[in-house]
Subunit: 150 residues, 3 copies
């Protein structure tokens, strides 16, 4: 009988976990006024998986990219990091990243900033030369994260 | 003994659900003749997750984009919506969307069309200036949807 | 009592499977010297899902794209295939693919190479005209695979 109770308790845990996989939470970060009311969430968390939308590197007050390309890379990655934080995750939970870049000569500049955000293995990544990006940005960064079990 | 039966029944449900996660269904919509035999599915459903390929906004009969940019946006989003419908889903099941656009001046035009398809929170989204798109299209829209539990 | 034991054994299998879903394995293929120490994995496997980064079609020795566009397509797809193989998967496990291409006139050339890699239904796919790609490449190919249950 005790075993039965254990089995049912474990089952309850299992089923809850599966149910949560299809629940979702929409994450909308604080945005510069120019970005208010635009039709996207910064991230959507469903189960253990967080889908992160495209983040450009803009000054949070002006909504414009800074003059410095390294600082712009930092701001773009910070948008991803803040979305992760809102879901209780860190950069090390990322499994996949896409970087769109309107000027491929900034590859090393971006990489130097980007790699400072990780402590171990890197996510899979695509680095793609794009056309023009919104707000005249040099980078747009998006990704998928899956919460690591400890 | 009854508890045993309940436990085993619940287990059967659980295991079925997990097995379904790795089954898959390939969705191929009806296509204009010019698109027949191209090597892609419109979507692949595995478990609760639907991976939707890139949809451009073409007239279903001619396979060409219409002159009007808002109508082209509508046709591209309709391709995504039809793929969702074939998997028993709606636009509100989308968790992540990527929009590639060959002319960023159409950002507001696209957004106006796009937001009319949603009833609540928006998916995460990236909006990326691309190079030229197939068939001379202005937009290509793709995404990932996870079936919502009621 | 025997049924109890069966129930608990099945539960153990179930819970192990769920735990594995959030474990991950970082796949890093052998790279040309010019690509060593770059901040990305070729793929990240978490549970049954493999996230594959962007692969360009370069000669493994020189790190440069070959002159022939079909051979370059083959090399790019081979990078994806090798990443899949390292995770115990094949091209037929792919559910979603993105192809970025700096020259849309190569659409048919790419398709001819690409379709030779599949044995049945195709993954969902987006084919997007990009800006310039790294190393002057013509293609960058990425995707998501979910291990098929037999």
């Amino acid at each position: 009988m005790k075993r039965n109770a254990v089995a049912l308790t474990l089952l309850a845990i299992t089923l809850t976990s599966i149910a949560q996989e299809t629940d979702r939470r929409h994450i909308v970060l604080k945005r510069p006024p120019a970005f208010a009311n635009l039709p996207f969430s910064d991230g959507v968390l469903t189960g253990d998986t967080l889908y992160i939308g495209g983040h450009i590197g803009v000054d949070p007050k002006t909504g414009q990219p800074p003059a410095d390309a390294a600082e712009e890379a930092r701001l773009a990655v910070e948008g991803v990091k803040e979305t992760l934080a809102a879901a209780g995750m860190t950069m090390d939970d990322l499994v996949s990243v896409q970087v769109f870049c309107s000027d491929l000569s900034l590859y090393d500049t971006f990489n130097k900033v980007y790699q400072s955000y990780f402590h171990g293995d890197y996510p899979a990544r695509a680095f793609i030369g794009s056309g023009k990006l919104l707000r005249g940005g040099r980078y747009e960064v998006l990704g998928i994260a899956v919460k690591k079990r400890k």
